[in-house]
């Protein structure tokens, strides 16, 4: 195989596939996707439920069908792929070290890299769940792979901790497959996944969700026998007299996702402590020239459509970098989180970019606002550069808004932009 590429994409989920396609479409000749699994598609392959593609295709597709669209496109574009291959290290000079069963130890050079490793689930250890350590405690995504891909049930009676999307979707899936989901517990006072999933996964199947309630301890020696649930106050402290022992044989954890950035760090990529992903500019380039990042590796999205879009932007940027061996430095201004906004991606904006195309921003709210809201992007003088109305703002649902080329003149005068979400 080749040892020299224009663009190498690490990871073949929706972000990586889109990046590879965009790199090809924008003139990169030799593009390689490296995937550690035995096939392309990433986590979409186990997300067999519908709800993908509504924004991009106006179609309600299951995850595997959404993935296949892009897998076929990658093949059609003549992208090279290397599966069952683990990347071990990336240098800031863009040398990639990887291992593959057949090819052994690989050393590859590339002009540009797109990091698209996605994210992984928070585990029991990361939320410090007390109690014994029996079998029967899984992350929701692991259970999803068991049930949807490998074909076996991890238990019969479940409690699910966390109202994230995967947890709710698994509650429905397990019920359809004949298991009993005793309870979904959520430590926050609000749902952390999408409202539509609450309706079609929990309400539809009569599954009870209890908010401001968590697992106090796990009971069982060899296998989970029960969990003890408890209510918590605003500071997550257990409230006396609210304990309940819920018999079950399996506990699923749906308690958050963390961008997977071990390789990024090895390559010298700086991470934002709020998103746990790289600081990126509007082309999704990190602080290391020629290393781009797209999708859940940057921050955890709730809709795959925006991951795909981010992949296209990153792939296009990577192709341009590979061609010119650098990017025009451009004049970047910071994009910062303002009122009731936890973070904004990208972190900075090349002012000239708006002459070519719109730039999409993704934000998360800090506190829920259950009434009409206005999201604004303002310059240092409070001048509004872009805005978007919404029916509400919820921490569990990403806010997105595009700065349009029409705002070009305004943005040229800006020294920084701040994003806010307020009651309308």
């Amino acid at each position: 195989m080749k040892r020299d590429y224009d663009v190498v994409v690490i990871g073949s989920g929706p972000g990586g596939l889109a990046a590879a396609i965009a790199a090809k479409e924008n003139g990169a000749e030799h593009v390689l996707v490296i995937e550690r699994d035995v096939e392309l598609g990433g986590i979409l392959l186990q997300c067999i439920h519908n709800g993908f593609g509504l924004e991009l295709f106006n179609e309600d597709l299951p995850g595997p069908a959404y993935a296949q669209h892009f897998i076929d496109d990658v093949r059609g574009h003549g992208v090279e792929t290397l599966m069952d291959t683990m990347v071990l290290d990336i240098t800031p000079e863009r040398t990639i070290y990887a291992i593959n069963k057949g090819l052994g130890y690989l050393e590859l050079r590339t002009r540009a890299i797109v990091l698209a490793m996605g994210c992984r689930e928070r585990t029991r250890a990361q939320i410090l769940l007390p109690g014994s350590r029996p079998a029967g405690v899984y992350t929701a995504g692991t259970a999803q792979r068991f049930v949807n891909v490998e074909g076996f049930m991890p238990g019969e009676k479940f409690v699910i901790l966390g109202s994230g999307d995967i947890g709710m979707i698994m509650a429905r899936r397990l019920t359809i497959e004949g298991a009993k989901v005793e309870r979904v517990l959520e430590i926050m006072p609000y749902l952390t996944g999408l409202t539509r999933n609450y309706v079609q996964c929990l309400l539809d199947y009569g599954i009870i969700l209890e908010k401001q309630r968590t697992v106090n301890r796990i009971i069982g020696k060899d296998r989970v026998e029960a969990i003890e649930a408890v209510s918590v106050d605003e500071a997550w402290q257990p409230i006396p007299g609210t304990r309940e022992v819920i018999p079950c044989d399996t506990l699923l954890l749906s308690v958050g996702l963390i961008p997977e950035n071990e390789l990024s760090k090895q390559a010298g990529v700086l991470l934002d402590p709020v998103t746990n992903g790289p600081f990126v500019d509007d082309r999704f380039m990190t602080n290391v020239p020629g290393i781009f990042a797209a999708g859940n590796v940057v921050h955890v999205y709730d809709l795959v459509d925006w991951v795909t879009e981010a992949g296209y932007v990153a792939g296009k940027g990577a192709a341009a970098f590979a061609r010119d061996k650098h990017v025009e430095p451009g004049e970047h201004i910071p994009l910062t989180a303002g009122e009731n906004i936890r973070y904004v991606v990208p972190h900075k904006l090349d002012k000239a970019r708006l002459a070519e195309e719109q730039v999409r921003l993704q934000m998360r709210a800090i506190a829920p606002i259950e009434e009409r809201v206005l999201v604004t992007v303002e310059d240092q003088n409070g001048e509004v550069v872009a805005k978007k109305a919404g029916a509400y703002a919820r921490p569990g649902e990403i806010l997105t808004l595009a700065i349009r080329p029409q705002a070009y003149e305004l943005v040229q005068k800006a020294t920084g932009l701040t994003v806010n979400v307020r009651r309308r």
Binding site: V38, E39, G41, L45, I48, H49, N50, G51, L54, D60, L61, P62, G63, P64, A65, A67, Q68, V147, N148, V149, E150, G151, I176, E177, G178, L194, T195, R196, Y198, V199, Q200, D204, D302, L303, A391, E397
Partner: protein, 122 residues
């Protein structure tokens, strides 16, 4: 006779909380809908609630032991448990192609259940 119910629309991720004035399953007015699909959803939800259903069926000789499937269109909600049972009886052989019908006219609804991906032979 008319009453007002609150229904969360699940057509898209926006999840509008619809305020629906209705007499039994007859929709009179829909308020608070972010787009026109809310009206259709309310009518369907009160008269004939349907959901997209996704599951898996057994596949012999495939890369994986299961192939994911879904209903080609939204499926009557009360029949979903029976559909799940019917799908457990289905067994196919690899290779399977995306969109291949694996259970035709499920439970006589006229709705086909199709594969949501290619499943190559092992």
């Amino acid at each position: 006779m008319a009453e007002i119910s609150e229904i969360i629309c699940v057509t898209c991720p926006q999840g509008c909380l619809l305020r629906v004035k209705h007499a039994g399953s007859e929709v009179i007015e829909v308020h608070n809908s972010g787009c026109k699909r809310g009206q259709e959803y309310a009518i369907s939800e009160l008269g004939d609630p349907r959901r997209m259903v996704a599951s898996t069926v057994r596949v012999n000789g495939g890369l994986h032991p299961l192939v994911p499937v879904y209903t080609r269109s939204a499926f009557p909600k009360p029949l979903i448990p029976r559909l799940a049972q019917a799908l457990r009886q289905v067994e196919v052989s690899a290779p399977v192609k995306i969109d291949q019908v694996l259970l035709a006219d499920a439970l006589g609804t006229g709705i086909d259940v199709v594969a949501s991906r290619d499943m190559p032979a092992r």
